[in-house]
């Protein structure tokens, strides 16, 4: 599997290392020469110096043999053109673009970009979660952020501790999918008792997770 990363120094570097570890063939394209030299320190990574929105640079980077192209530059316009060139001119199977302005998501999809990630929204979402909700170890957004999976620890003295699941009033759009108890994994039913020290895996929609966490932990 051949992957092409265009622009975006820090993300490109981390992504390249992770993909190479999983045995993908990775090529990075970057317009800055110093960034290219640093990228070239990653073993096994092929690096091309140039503007990835130019067709001849993409050609040189092997866009014709590429399965997945990921546009990471900090300009939405550049990312759009990169994805369109990859798709239409070089027949890349899947294109992924990072965007700054979340409002452009629908437009990018309309223009044939397969996956659109709004970095700013994703990061602010995570920061909000971490800053305003305590004791949450992980929150994973699914389906464009409409649904989220959260892991919640139940401390001693929490409202949910030593209660059966049906005794706790959770928002309608939240279910407890799984209970992690020491090294055990329990799929709960209404009469399953929650103990202090458990970790609950919540599946929630429409941003109900904050209310659910409050009902469970009292915070």
């Amino acid at each position: 599997m051949q992957v092409l990363l265009i622009g975006g120094f820090d993300i490109a570097r981390t992504l390249a290392a992770s993909l190479l570890k999983r045995k993908y063939q990775v090529t990075a394209v970057h317009p800055d020469y110093d960034c290219c030299r640093q990228l070239a320190d990653i073993k096994g990574l092929q690096v091309i110096h140039g503007d990835g929105s130019k067709p001849f640079i993409l050609e040189e980077a092997g866009a014709r043999r590429t399965d997945i192209a990921i546009a990471l530059t900090d300009s939405d316009a550049d990312n759009l053109v990169i994805c369109e060139l990859c798709k239409k001119r070089f027949g890349v199977t899947k294109t992924v673009s990072v965007i700054k302005n979340a409002e452009n998501t629908a437009f990018f999809r309309q223009m044939g970009v397969d996956a659109v990630v709004c970095a700013t929204n994703t990061i602010t979402g995570i920061i909000e979660q971490l800053a305003f909700v305590h004791d949450m170890t992980a929150l994973v957004p699914v389906g464009d952020g409409r649904v989220s999976i959260a892991e919640v620890a139940i401390p001693e003295g929490a409202p949910a501790a030593n209660k059966k699941l049906w005794e706790i009033s959770l928002p309608r759009e939240v279910i407890v999918g799984c209970i992690l108890r020491k090294d055990q994994t329990l799929i709960p039913r209404g009469d399953t008792r929650i103990l202090a020290g458990d970790s609950l895996v919540l599946l929630s929609s429409a941003h109900q997770e904050t209310d659910a966490i409050r009902a469970l932990t009292g915070r």
Binding site: A77, V81, K88, R89, N101, N104, F107, Q110
Partner: protein
């Protein structure tokens, strides 16, 4: 100059120009002189100095690849959108938003690099490429001087 002729026929129209460089400003001045409505969008306020003192159109400061900015420019009302910033990719993106999201009848964009043609060709966006135009003109002048020599 077909564009000027076409625009003169329907002076009631509304033109949105993106990019207040030399080309954008001179176009905006010309449209304003004909007393047709024109809106100039540039992300740098200082660029509007290039507009003439007699310029009677509107200006808006903002990044045109932000759909919200295009909405404030009332792009949906426009019958012509001209994208002439100094960045090809910005011009392509703005032209595609104008064509595919707002279905503007006339969309014109300037591109320095003709190689990216495949991206906009299929969308019915008219493009002008200074390199191609200059090449053609120089070629024509060379041809003429050759004729003179031969004659």
């Amino acid at each position: 100059m077909d564009f000027f002729k076409a625009a003169r026929r329907k002076d009631s129209g509304y033109t949105v120009i993106i990019g207040c460089g030399r080309l954008g400003a001179s176009l905006a001045n010309a449209i304003s002189d004909r007393e047709a409505s024109v809106m100039m969008v540039d992300r740098d306020e200082r660029a509007f100095r290039k507009l003439g003192t007699a310029y009677g159109g509107l200006t808006l400061t903002g990044d045109a690849t932000d759909i919200a900015v295009l909405r404030s420019a009332q792009i949906e009302r426009a019958d012509t959108v001209v994208s002439v910033t100094n960045d090809d990719n910005t011009n392509i993106m703005v032209a595609q938003i104008a064509r595919n999201v707002y279905h503007i009848p006339n969309v014109i964009c300037r591109l320095y690099d003709p190689e990216r043609e495949i991206v906009y060709k299929e969308f019915g966006i008219d493009t002008i490429c200074p390199t191609v135009l200059s090449t053609r003109e120089i070629d024509r002048l060379l041809g003429k001087s050759k004729e003179v020599k031969e004659a």
